[in-house]
């Protein structure tokens, strides 16, 4: 399994913070700011983790989620969604691995993804 992680987030600052957290968790990070680009990248590669903002320009987080679930190649990809609305997050409880409600702490995200990454390395 690769060390690749996608941060799909349109806010530049949040994207930086999330990337830094994933970098600290030893991931190889690619930041994507647009839903349409994200769809294309997901068709081309198989990341170990996707941190997905539900509120995206181009293509919504929900549509991307549907695509990920439909793609058998991405079955093992860990999906973490980031949303400002806790209620909205609850709706995806069964379809994603983790739901993070904004504000998302750098340390929490780093510690969480570090555990996932180390589990990956053990496999």
């Amino acid at each position: 399994m690769s060390d690749l992680a996608y941060v799909i987030e349109d806010d530049e600052d949040l994207s930086t913070i999330f990337s830094e957290a994933l970098l600290a968790a030893n991931y190889e990070v690619e930041t994507i700011v647009n839903g349409l680009i994200a769809r294309q990248r997901l068709q081309e590669s198989t990341p170990h983790l996707v941190l997905l903002d539900m509120h995206l320009p181009g293509l919504s987080g929900e549509e991307l989620l549907t695509q990920i679930q439909a793609d058998k190649r991405l079955a093992k990809t860990i999906v973490v969604i980031a949303t400002a609305d806790a209620r909205l997050g609850d709706a995806y409880r069964d379809s994603v691995d983790y739901i993070l409600v904004k504000p998302i702490s750098f340390t929490q995200l780093r510690d969480l993804t570090l555990r996932m990454h180390s589990r990956n390395e053990k496999e």
Binding site: D11, E20, D85, P103, S105, T107
Partner: protein
């Protein structure tokens, strides 16, 4: 008939003597009647004497001359008395008194002294006695009994006959009877007058009261109509058969219908208006057909307008339902503002949290030495930025929650949950704050509480966090204890007990109001907007529960949230 009545009125006018004293008027009128009778009698006597004398050819007889002459005198006398009696400047008793004296004297010459003193004409002296009691005053009967007795004595002396003592006693007896009867008659008349006066007063009072109330009613009715016509809300009144009987000008203006299109139309007719779509048609029809069984008011979209419509049953004073009143308030502007508010809420929610998240993230990275090593002071400063950002986030969340509750936007997501999970979550969330303040945060679940409850875990957690947060905020030392239990078999409860400063009795009822803090000056010391308890209160209400507070200043407070135990079968999962 009319003529008769007319002459009767004229006769009355001749006999009546206007007087302020009703007794005086009555006596004067009676005297006038007597005088008229005597005058007629005198004329008749004169005519009869003259005719008989002419027939018998004894005109030159002395008796005849005396007869005619005395008739004439009597007539003239009565006319004089009549004139005196009618004069209002002369007291009433003058005419009647002198007339009776005159009568007494005249009577003494109507027969021979023998007959008058002790014979067939003795009775004549009773006439002035009876008349005095009526014409003068009841007691005057005795005066004329005395005068009659004196006359009898004088006549007896003159005729040299024995005095008839029985006659004199009889005179006084008659005087007594006259006095009694006249007296009671006068009293009866007086009572009657009083009764009549009372009746008159009563009638006058009632009449004026009635007139007043009529005037008042007319003023009030006029005022009500003026109010109805000038208010900006549309008001339609339907009768018991559902037919519109009243519609004010605002109605026709708001609904953009002609007055004739509203009046006499039924609920069905009204809801068929083109401005209504199917959904709003059903809402309005339901509202107007079942007044009082719906929420206080409904939003109805009527064309490009939005109305807040409320309906109520109309009862008369006997509590009988007589119809329905519907009020249409133009809510278009408010509805637009509400949509704007929702948009602003969503934007604020996103726009406030995103930069706060960025601040938090960068400071954490700084503190975690992502940008290179930092010293201890820099680390402490970063901590302060982090904790203050969390505080600000909490305020933003509270404000957004409050706004959402107020807008009725919060819906509960009901699912089974474990009470232990709720307690664990809250304990772990709040333990750091408690530890920082050196306050013991403890929790217990009483055994009778079911292992699985039904409810919105996230919101229940929010309630408990707010209560614990509040308890920690106002407690300087001691403990905060969470207890979950069943007060009865249909309810479960969450209790948060602290050893804080307590809430004064007069403040306890206000603490659940938004933006309320017990003492305004404390806001600076105890950060927050005073929204926590308001949110708790509203969320608990939304769950069909109740929140209560017991507190003693200086000892501590106990907040208890009581919620119904929801049975699994009746739950609709959202």
């Amino acid at each position: 008939m009319t003529r008769n009545r007319h002459s009767f009125i004229n006769l009355n006018r001749l006999l009546d003597v206007p007087s302020t004293d009703p007794d005086d008027a009555r006596r004067r009128k009676l005297l006038n009647i007597v005088l008229s009778g005597v005058a007629i009698l005198a004329i008749l006597a004169g005519i009869v004497t003259f005719s008989l004398a002419s027939l018998l050819n004894i005109m030159s007889s002395q008796d005849v001359i005396i007869g005619i002459f005395s008739g004439l005198i009597l007539f003239i006398g009565t006319v004089i008395f009549f004139a005196i009696n009618r004069s209002q400047s002369i007291p009433g008793w003058v005419a009647s008194g002198t007339f009776l004296l005159f009568l007494s004297v005249v009577l003494a010459f109507t027969d021979t002294p023998q007959e008058l003193a002790n014979g067939r004409s003795l009775y004549v002296f009773t006439i002035p006695i009876i008349m005095a009691s009526i014409l003068l005053s009841p007691a005057f009967s005795f005066v004329f009994a005395i005068s009659g007795s004196l006359e009898v004595i004088i006549l007896s002396e003159a005729a040299s006959i024995e005095l008839n003592t029985f006659a004199i006693v009889g005179f006084f007896l008659i005087a007594f009877i006259s006095w009694v009867s006249a007296h009671s008659l006068e009293r009866a008349l007086k009572d009657l007058r009083t009764t009549n006066a009372n009746l008159d007063r009563l009638v006058a009072e009632r009449t004026s009261a009635l007139a007043e109330s009529l005037v008042r009613e007319r003023i009030e009715a006029g005022r009500n109509i003026a109010i109805l016509e000038s208010i900006t809300d549309g008001v339609i009144v339907f009768d018991i058969h559902g037919k519109a009987i009243v519609a004010n000008p605002a109605t026709t203006q708001l609904l953009n219908l002609h007055h004739d299109q509203v009046i006499n139309s039924s609920v069905h007719d009204l809801t068929r208006a083109q401005a209504l779509d199917a959904k709003n048609r059903v809402i309005l029809a339901d509202l107007l057909s079942n007044p009082g069984q719906q929420p206080a008011s409904y939003r109805v979209h009527w064309g490009r307008k939005t109305f807040s419509v409320s309906s109520a049953q109309v009862f008369d004073t006997e509590e009988t339902r007589i119809g329905t009143v519907a009020v249409f308030r133009d809510f278009t502007h408010e509805a637009e503002i509400e949509i704007m508010k929702d948009t602003i809420l969503a934007t604020v929610s996103h726009e406030l949290r995103t930069p706060l998240n960025a601040i938090l993230g960068y400071v954490e990275m700084f503190k975690e030495a992502v940008y290179g090593p930092i010293n201890e002071r820099q680390a402490r400063a970063s901590e302060r930025v982090i904790s203050n950002t969390h505080r600000m986030l909490a305020i933003v969340n509270d404000l957004l929650d409050q706004a959402q509750i107020e807008a009725g936007k919060i819906t509960l997501k009901i699912n089974p949950f474990k009470p232990s999970e709720l307690l664990d979550n809250v304990s772990s969330l709040m333990s750091k704050t408690a530890a920082e303040k050196h306050i013991a945060l403890t929790g217990e679940i009483e055994p009778e509480l079911p292992d699985i409850l039904i409810g919105d875990l996230t919101r229940l957690q929010q309630i408990l966090v707010n209560l614990v947060n509040n308890a920690l905020k106002f407690t300087e030392k001691g403990s905060v204890h969470i207890r979950m239990f069943c007060p009865d078999k249909n309810h479960w409860a969450m209790e948060v007990r602290d050893t804080g400063m307590g809430i004064p009795g007069n403040e306890q009822e206000h603490i659940f109001e938004p933006f309320h803090q017990v003492d305004g000056s404390m806001t600076r010391k105890y950060a927050g907007f005073g929204l926590g308890l308001s949110i708790v209160n509203q969320l608990v209400a939304l769950m069909g529960g109740d929140v209560a507070v017991k507190s003693t200043v200086g000892v501590g407070s106990v907040f208890t949230v009581t919620l119904p135990i929801v049975q699994t079968g009746g739950i609709q999962h959202e």
